[in-house]
């Protein structure tokens, strides 16, 4: 690799890290669409179209396509808070030893508004132990 290529890679990495940092900074502490009926209805449609195949129509983890390496999350009990929710949706989840993220990284293809709308819908399904605010430290 020549000097220009190294410099270019370093610059790209810097831009990426800055972008990731800026992205994290941009996520509000609380879901701006919480309780917004129109956004919740739209988020329900998005959830059913995009998420339900793994997480199930009831969001309880009972989706047909959820058994890659383990069972998918029961989103009614999601307790990691709004910002962590956004992070997981954007960046996905990878289990050790797997060739692929079992939860895909949707960050490049679903916009923030859609992610927030889906979150607002999921909040309406919350059962005991769920936390969509600050979230438990885990």
């Amino acid at each position: 690799m020549n000097f220009k290529a190294v410099l270019s890679s370093a610059l790209m990495l810097g831009v990426f890290l800055l972008g990731a940092h800026a992205n994290a900074q941009d996520v509000p502490e609380a879901n701006p669409y919480s309780g917004d009926e129109a956004k919740i209805r739209s988020g329900k449609s998005d959830y059913r179209a995009i998420c339900s195949l793994c997480h199930g129509g009831r969001a309880d983890g009972a989706g047909e396509r959820g058994t890659g390496a383990s069972t998918p999350a029961d989103l009614r009990k999601f307790n990691k808070g709004f910002r962590r929710y956004v992070d997981i949706v954007k960046n996905g989840v990878q289990k050790p030893g797997r060739d692929i993220k079992d939860m895909p990284a949707w960050g490049g293809v679903i916009d923030d508004e859609t992610i927030y709308k889906i979150g607002a819908f999921l909040e309406t399904l919350a059962i005991e132990g769920a936390d969509w605010k600050e979230g438990k430290k885990n």
Partner: protein, 563 residues
């Protein structure tokens, strides 16, 4: 060209058995055509997909004395869905884009072949499929393996080294890509295994649920992997059924192939079931009012030319994800080769294998309300009304996991019974707007499962009546069924209980809780003079979260024998 000729010459030499190895003689055409006995060459046991073995050393008289001979692990990271293939006492087993050769006597690893998926591997539903395989094919001196990323690997049985790896991307079958790394994530993802027939390796292709591309079956040259023929599951314009689709919908219409099919050497026809039509929400493909022939169908093709002889559609317009992904089983009835296929619909369908003519449909599950029945014309009658997009879901039985899912059935010519890995189920099913993201068309549908019990059944193929059942008391499907000339029927429940029953009466002769989910059928073979039964286990019970089993992920192979 010279290299190609040498490769073909080497292939011919291996086929006549001159290059016999420590692993035994090559698998020639006669071996392919034989019934399963000492060897278990085809994933489905034989050409007709009976999953029946002529072995009888383990039988109703001694099955109660079965003991674990060995336990092995291949370190699986997802469901074990393959029935092992066995030749000359060596087991060949695919898992996580690897193939393992295992000593059938001791369970010890002989070699491991490993394929690395591309760095940009990913996409819609692809995490679910990654690492799953339903079998390998054995032919000549080779183990033929299909990796998830649409590559056919010819692996030397003796050394575990690849003789060739054929990539079908240049033929138009690209793999699905990570959303973050490609603007076009759509592609073919292969979980089904290949099948060997004289002169060809059958390569089924599926992209039904990874974004919407049409399904094909390829006939590949065993010496090179090059495509000899290509059969389209969705009929082209001008073919019978070609007018049952909006022409533009054929490009994403699904009808892929999830399973290894069956083969009739007399007519040289290969038969396969096909997947759902795509998208699941039918609005772009006729709204359930067009038949979408080729999807949710059984398709017959000439295995020398790829010419499709007929397509029979079990769920016209497929509005429920009631595809027919099961293997069509070939049974001689009244002197004619008859296809019998128990499937998702809750019916076993009977067709004339020569013509595809519908003969009858036998209901085999207790609760079924999506239709009132099948008419003499082979069409569903009195189907429940479809949901409205964005409206309330409708509740139907069975659910989209089906009366029988992909878990294989078996047929015993001695008892005349077919053994079904079946379940009771229902679902709430609704339609939503169809999203298109990264050139991936999403389902546009969703479901809420209502699980019923796993019930493994024996069905008389002549009368269509149930002969016996084993209600396992929890949701799921057995991994698959095996039956033998020893008068046994063998399966492992979804929860991981290995069971051996009298094939005729269903009386339980042996049972052992193995504690790991079964999603593959067992096989039997002979090594060192002993009959062995091998079962692959692996995964988490159920589709999605299923609290009933209270079982965590596990993975292993277990072999049984009697002393």
């Amino acid at each position: 060209m010279k290299q190609f000729k040498l490769r073909q010459l080497a292939w011919c030499i291996s086929l006549v058995g001159l290059s016999g190895t420590a692993f035994g003689q090559a698998v020639n055409d006669a071996a392919l055509a034989a019934e399963a006995g000492d060897n278990w060459i085809h994933t489905n046991g034989n050409y007709a997909a009976h999953r029946f073995s002529t072995l009888d050393k383990i039988n109703a008289g001694n099955a109660g004395k079965l003991k674990v001979a060995w336990v092995a692990t291949v370190g699986g990271k997802t469901d074990a869905q393959a029935t092992p293939s066995v030749h000359n006492g060596v087991i060949y087993f695919p898992q996580d884009n690897k193939v393992f050769a295992i000593d059938g006597k001791s369970g010890k690893l002989l070699w491991k072949y490993e394929h690395k998926l591309p760095d940009d591997w990913g996409g819609y539903n692809v995490p679910f499929f990654t690492g799953k395989h339903r079998g390998v094919a054995l032919y000549g001196d080779n183990v033929y393996f299909l990796s998830n990323d649409v590559k056919l690997h010819a692996i030397d049985m003796k050394t575990g080294k690849a003789k060739f790896v054929k990539d079908y991307a240049a033929d138009g079958f690209q793999y699905p890509k990570d959303f973050a790394k490609s603007k076009d994530s759509n592609g073919y993802c292969i979980t089904v295994g290949p099948m060997a027939v004289p002169g060809a390796i059958i390569v089924p292709l599926n992209a039904a649920d990874t974004g919407g591309l049409p399904g094909y079956v390829l006939g590949a040259d065993p010496a090179s992997g090059n495509i000899k023929w290509k059969a389209n599951m969705i009929p082209a314009k001008g073919e019978p059924g070609g007018d049952t689709w909006p022409e533009e919908a054929k490009a994403f219409g699904g009808a892929g192939v999830w399973i290894i099919g069956s083969y009739d050497p007399e007519t040289k026809q290969y038969f396969t079931g096909t997947s759902n039509a795509y998208e699941w929400n039918p609005k772009n493909r006729g709204g359930g009012k067009m038949d979408n022939v080729g999807a949710a169908s059984i398709v017959a093709m000439n295995a020398e030319t790829g010419k499709v002889n007929w397509r029979w559609t079990g769920v016209p317009g497929d509005p429920w994800d009631f595809d027919l992904p099961q293997t069509p089983i070939l049974i001689k009835m009244n002197g004619k080769t008859t296809i019998v296929q128990p499937n998702k619909t809750g019916y076993a369908h009977y067709l004339d294998a020569a013509t595809g003519r519908f003969l009858r449909a036998d209901k085999f599950i207790d609760k079924l309300d999506w239709i009132k029945g099948y008419g003499e014309d082979g069409r569903p009658q009195g189907m429940i009304a479809l949901p409205k997009e964005g409206g309330d879901p409708v509740t139907i039985s069975p659910g989209l996991l089906g009366g029988v899912n992909m878990y294989p059935s078996a047929y015993n010519p001695g008892t005349g019974l077919m053994y079904l890995a079946s379940a009771e189920s229902a679902m709430k099913y609704g339609y939503e707007e169809i999203k298109v993201i990264s050139n991936v068309r999403h389902f546009g549908a969703y479901q809420e499962f209502i699980f019923g019990n796993e019930i493994n059944r024996a069905m008389d193929v002549k009368s269509g009546k149930e002969a016996w059942r084993s209600d396992e008391g929890k949701p799921g499907y057995a991994g698959g069924m095996l039956t033998t000339a020893g008068g046994l029927t063998i399966w492992t429940t979804q929860g991981g209980t290995f069971k051996v029953a009298d094939a005729k009466s269903g009386k339980l002769l042996f049972s052992q809780d193995l504690g790991v989910a079964a999603k593959a059928g067992p096989a039997t073979y002979t090594v060192g003079g002993k009959q062995m039964i091998v079962q692959a286990l692996g995964g988490t019970p159920g589709f999605g979260r299923d609290e009933a089993h209270k079982a965590e992920f596990g993975h292993m192979l277990v072999a049984y024998t009697v002393e």
